[in-house]
Subunit: 159 residues, 2 copies
DNA sequence: TTCCAGAGTATTGTATACAATTAAATTGCC
DNA sequence: GGCAATTTAATTGTATACAATACTCTGGAA
């Protein structure tokens, strides 16, 4: 009997995404070094530059992160002067994340820096569009399958 | 003057990859729950099932991880009975990662489990191939740009 | 032989992630 | 109005990642 082998293409796809994600992370970290921002911190700032103030929960929905990740991340952003965490008066459960003046002032600098670095990537809009739509497919498949914790059940049904 | 905006497509591409990577991670974690393996642990096992024994360095090259990540990961795999870490006799600097009997025995079970779960993804080989080749492009771009720490220099040259 | 540059691994420190739990505040329902 | 269920953040515990450093070992040069 031949060796049982896993579906290698899927493996490789997953690993490629995993590796690309790490590389992007490093790329942004280098690009944003002058500002001392990590990639997760940067995307949090991006959302806030659009829509601040937001609650931790609202920010988490946009970034697909929970309070276990965001609370310490936001504390670090606060310590570095980018945001202020303010307990809401109308609903004391909520913490509103406000931008500081520094954040407003540095926004265009950060945008410009990222813009410059991204041009180094040299991907066409078509290439990007195509990848994005495929990634959306993958993500929604993964959502359907795993978000509802159906994996075990479905596999067990097969057995 | 209009607001300066970053190159949103690139942002979205990066975020899509970042989010997809996290979802894949969770997907594998659920699928492998019966074995108690995380995704990074699983890909380490995959490589070892192909080629054990390997040194930490060799494993790290395949997985694109350094000893700072691998050492604790491998210690956990050892504690759970999947591998043995054996200091090489011919070169005392090296640590050889061997598979345990349990690992050999469970290999096909793990493969089968992943095979079952992956069929739930429902992507065609063509779709997967196309994504992979695009991801390889992105990764090599990121390698070229950032691996050699050229980002700052190149941007500064533009200024 | 001795010394030293480099290789290989481990450790330390910082920053994510996320499941699970806790704690506080609010809402809904009687 | 009073209390249970829900919502929202924070906390705890585990597991990656990775830069920077430390430490040991090896092989070659003086």
């Amino acid at each position: 009997m031949p060796k049982v082998t896993p579906i290698l293409l899927d493996e490789q796809l997953c690993f490629s995404i995993y590796a690309a994600s790490k590389k992007f992370n490093h790329f942004y970290q280098s690009a944003l070094a002058p500002f001392g921002l990590t990639y997760p911190q940067y995307i949090a700032m991006l959302v806030l530059w659009e829509d601040a103030p937001l609650t931790v929960h609202q920010l988490g929905e946009r970034l697909e992160l929970d309070s276990g990740t965001l609370t310490p991340l936001l504390k670090r952003l606060e310590k570095q002067g980018w945001v202020e965490r303010v307990r809401s008066r109308t609903d004391e459960r909520q913490v509103l994340i406000h931008l500081t003046e520094m954040a407003e002032e540095k926004r265009d600098e950060v945008y410009a820096r990222i813009g410059q670095c991204q041009t180094l990537l040299g991907m066409s809009n078509d290439e990007i569009d195509s990848m994005m739509s495929e990634l959306v497919t993958v993500k929604s498949q993964l959502d359907t399958v795993s978000q509802e914790r159906k994996i075990a059940k479905q596999v067990d049904k097969q057995a």
